[in-house]
């Protein structure tokens, strides 16, 4: 009996345990299945099939899903496991739909970015699966192929068809980490709009606010705390396109933008209309141009730009190698200045079309400024009327710039887009009646009386060079200096190189030496300086042959002071003794001149004739006394050393003048 009671007790206990166990586990199993099927159902609604290696649920209804694979409707894998490492705080409510989910440290890897746009369109089409009201993603990470990674904490919530995404610490980066955003905090609201009648296209409204964090695009870094982002847009997702119409987008204090953007499945067909405007160009230029690019382009480092500017343009094929671009640039009260450059009060309305833009009727534009100064030289006010054609912008009439009391006239002025898509400024230049004295004074050089004029021929400027095919003639020192083959290499780089050839005719040495602190020489000088190069403000190379030529009625003499300068300069030897130098102020010469070249700081100096002792005559005395020979025994010397000697001579000259005046 007792055994029977015991057996019955064990049986009852076993049954009870079984009942308890069944009671305890039944919800779990049913819950797990519910979750699995709900995930399946929700993702299937979005057009995806989800498979998980395991889905576990505990008593607190926390769910962990691992090794999740998502396939699109065509069976292609769009995301690889583990999609979700921890999936907890899941609340099930009757009728057992997932309404709130929290993902902690989820990892999503999308290896197929959906070249046909399916991923983006599906995401736009579904937003959050319908029953899910709130999704919290804590320390989530997403990798989209080799294109980008994002990690951070987001909350997605939807009410009445509007999806809100709130980010607190969102980091986004491309693989090279040079296009990235860090610690973004802000909110995106995405609202599904009612479909238009008889349309299958789905429409959305978007609002974006980002109030902190920073963003980097190559060299451009923007502190979004100082310049917050706000944007409002509508989007329409069709079968083959996504249209994004940005009503407004603003980097507050830097840039405003309006855009209509059509993204198609084939990038080359995409079309983008943009209207960018900067109300305070000074700040925009500083943050978006000078700071990022000043180190590589020193010309920008000291440039300040103020005023207002905007550009309205259409880009077709934005994703292709050669997008077609057309638009209009506006500028108002624009001023660009640096120690070496000034463009003042510029107003502009310039339409433009790239080479491959759709053919349009020629459209006129204007560009006018109150002042233009380059290197201290004033080119005065100017006004240009332009006509835009595909791939070029032509001035409708010659443009005249007032320079040095004369004029530089630019005929056939045009900005041309070349085949390799670089821009080149072209013109035919004509210089008339330029007062050299004013020009040189403006440039900060010693003034020389004279006049500059010439047919500069074809002029062309691009980032590689500014070149002139014609010539200019300076009428100076009673003669002429013809300037040819003028160019400036890499005009916008750290070191631009100015080049020219010069031919001198009939230069009166008396006038020349009067203008220079070099003593006094009389005679006529001719010759040439070829391949003259000036870089970083210093003479870099040249070939020189300048020599005196006898002219009837023109005396050929050299002063003692000039002799001593020559001697000190070239290490030359004034052959006359000290007493003779004291007795006579001027000596006669028969020939005078230098031949030589400068290469790599080595100045090779030759005179007009070889002396018996191996030296070279820089000055060969005349037959009649008083006469003098200056013979150089040094044919090679350091040019920088020679320049420093020149500077010392100048300083001595200054000190001597000061002493005399005292």
């Amino acid at each position: 009996m007792r055994r029977a009671i015991l057996a019955a007790g064990v049986l009852v206990a076993t049954v009870l345990l079984l009942v308890v166990a069944l009671y305890a586990t039944l919800p779990l199993w049913s819950g797990t299945e519910l979750v699995r099927s709900e995930l399946q159902r929700q993702l299937l609604l979005a057009g995806y099939d989800v498979q998980a290696a395991s889905v576990r649920m505990d008593r607190e209804l926390s769910v962990t899903a691992t090794d999740v694979v998502i396939r699109d409707a065509g069976g292609r894998e769009v995301a690889a496991a583990p999609l979700v490492e921890v999936f907890n705080t899941l609340r099930l409510q009757p009728p057992y739909l997932v309404t709130t989910a929290r993902l902690i440290r989820p990892r999503l890897s999308i290896d197929r970015t959906g070249e046909d746009g399916s991923v983006l369109r599906s995401l736009l089409a579904t937003a959050l699966p319908a029953p899910l009201e709130r999704l919290e993603i804590e320390e989530g990470a997403v990798r989209i192929g080799d294109a980008a990674t994002a990690r951070g904490t987001l909350v997605l919530d939807q009410h009445a068809g509007a999806l809100g995404i709130t980010a607190t610490t969102l980091d986004i980066s491309d693989p090279s980490a040079t296009r990235a955003a860090e610690k973004l905090a802000g909110r995106l609201r995405l609202e599904r709009l009612p479909r238009e009648a008889a349309s299958t296209d789905q429409r959305y409204a978007l609002e974006l606010q980002i109030g902190s964090g920073s963003a980097l695009w190559d060299e451009v870094l923007v502190d979004l705390g100082a310049f917050p982002v706000s944007a409002a847009a509508t989007a329409t997702a069709a079968a083959k396109t996504v249209d994004l119409d940005i009503a407004s987008a603003e980097l507050r204090g830097l840039l405003k933008m309006q855009a209509a953007f059509t993204w198609t499945l084939q990038d080359e067909l995409s079309r983008c209309s943009l209207h960018l405007s900067a109300e305070n160009l000074e700040r925009s230029f500083d943050k978006l141009v000078r700071e990022p690019f000043g180190a590589a382009y020193p010309a920008l480092a000291n440039l300040t730009v103020t005023g207002k500017s905007s550009v309205r343009m259409t880009i077709t094929g934005a994703g292709s190698d050669a997008p077609a671009i057309s638009g209009v640039v506006h500028a108002q009260s624009l001023r660009a200045s640096s120690p070496a450059f000034l463009l003042d009060d510029l107003t502009a309305r310039i339409p433009f079309f790239s080479r491959n833009a759709e053919p349009v009727v020629d459209i006129g534009g204007t560009l006018a400024a109150a002042d233009l100064r380059i290197g201290g030289i004033r080119f005065g006010p100017f006004r240009i009327e332009s006509i835009a054609r595909a791939g070029r912008l032509d001035a409708t009439a010659p443009v005249t710039l007032r320079v040095g009391g004369g004029a530089l006239t630019l005929e056939d002025l045009a900005l041309v887009e070349r085949e390799e898509r670089t821009l080149q400024l072209r013109a035919r230049g004509l210089l008339r009646d330029v007062d050299l004295s004013r020009l040189l004074q403006d440039a900060g050089w010693p003034a020389v009386q004279g006049r500059l004029e010439g047919d500069l021929g074809g002029m062309a400027m691009d980032p590689v060079a500014l070149s002139v095919t014609g010539a200019a003639t300076a009428h100076v020192f009673g003669g002429r200096v013809h300037l040819r083959d003028m160019s400036i290499g890499t005009p916008f780089s750290r070191v631009s190189v100015f080049r020219l050839d010069a031919v001198a005719e009939d230069l009166q040495l008396a006038e020349m030496t009067q203008a220079l602190p070099f003593g006094h020489i009389r005679g006529v000088l001719e010759g040439h300086v070829n391949d003259l190069e000036i870089a970083a403000g210093q003479l870099q190379s040249f070939d020189v042959d300048l020599h005196s030529v006898p002219r009837p009625g023109v005396a050929q003499t050299i002063s003692v002071r000039a002799l001593s300068k020559l001697s000190a300069l070239g290490g030359a030897d004034a052959s006359l003794g000290g007493i003779a130098l004291r007795l006579v102020n001027e000596f006669r010469y028969s020939r005078l001149g230098v031949r030589g070249s400068l290469r790599n700081d080595q100045f090779e100096l030759h005179g007009v004739e070889r002396a018996d002792d191996g030296g070279e005559y820089l000055v060969k005395g005349s037959l009649l006394p008083p006469t003098v020979n200056v013979i150089s025994h040094t044919q090679r010397m350091s040019f920088s050393e020679m320049l420093s000697r020149l500077r010392s001579l100048g300083e001595e000259e200054g000190e001597a003048r000061d002493a005399t005046s005292q």
Binding site: F293, A296, S493, V495, A535, N600, D601, Q602
Partner: protein
């Protein structure tokens, strides 16, 4: 028969004359001298001399030898072997000064591996993961400026020595090998096969 011999003799003489009239022009690119100059420039701008703040910038380079480069490509060997030209022009000096001034800013990023030297002698922002955005922007700007100056330096060296643009690539390649060879321990460099390795 005699006539035929005469013609043969004439033809032989003509051939000999033609052969002796042949002028051989040796195209000479003085790679060893370029390498020596490159080593000197790298040392001046990025080497110990550049690190030592007490060292005053020299007014002229005196690499000794880019020198034979000075002779143009179409010169006799005897002329090319005359090493008497210095690589010191105002443009080259200005570029070297800029590169040298920037080296102190770039050196920490080279040490950390954020920036490496690729096989073309160009600096590359190779691993910016440890930097904040301001650091990443600084690296991008420094690297861009440095590469522009280096490229212009090679062009100016070619121009200063009378070479056409077709030789710029040769000069760049020699400099590239020198930048890599002179890289300090711990710096990342790219080998000829394109593999990055730490020195």
């Amino acid at each position: 028969m005699q006539r035929r011999n005469s013609i043969r003799s004439l033809a032989l003489m003509f051939a000999m004359a033609a052969a002796s009239a042949c002028v051989t022009v040796n195209i000479y690119f003085p790679a060893p001298q370029v390498r020596e100059a490159a080593e000197q420039i790298v040392e001046e701008t990025w080497g110990d001399a550049a690190k030592d703040a007490s060292v005053q910038p020299r007014s002229s380079l005196s690499p000794g030898r880019l020198l034979a480069m000075a002779s143009s490509l179409l010169v006799a060997d005897a002329h090319a072997a005359d090493p008497d030209v210095n690589v010191s022009t105002p443009a080259i000096r200005a570029l070297k000064d800029a590169i040298k001034a920037r080296s102190a800013q770039l050196r920490p990023y080279m040490n950390s591996g954020a920036v490496g030297i690729d096989r073309g002698g160009v600096l590359v922002a190779r691993d910016l993961a440890g930097l904040d955005l301001a650091g990443k922007a600084a690296v991008r700007r420094l690297v861009e400026a440095e590469n522009r100056d280096r490229t212009q330096l090679y062009r100016e060296i070619a121009a200063a020595n009378g070479y056409g643009s077709e030789r710029v690539r040769d000069i760049q390649q020699i400099f590239a090998e020198t930048w890599v060879a002179k890289a300090e321990p711990g710096w990342w460099v790219q080998d000829a096969g394109g593999t990055w390795r730490r020195r």
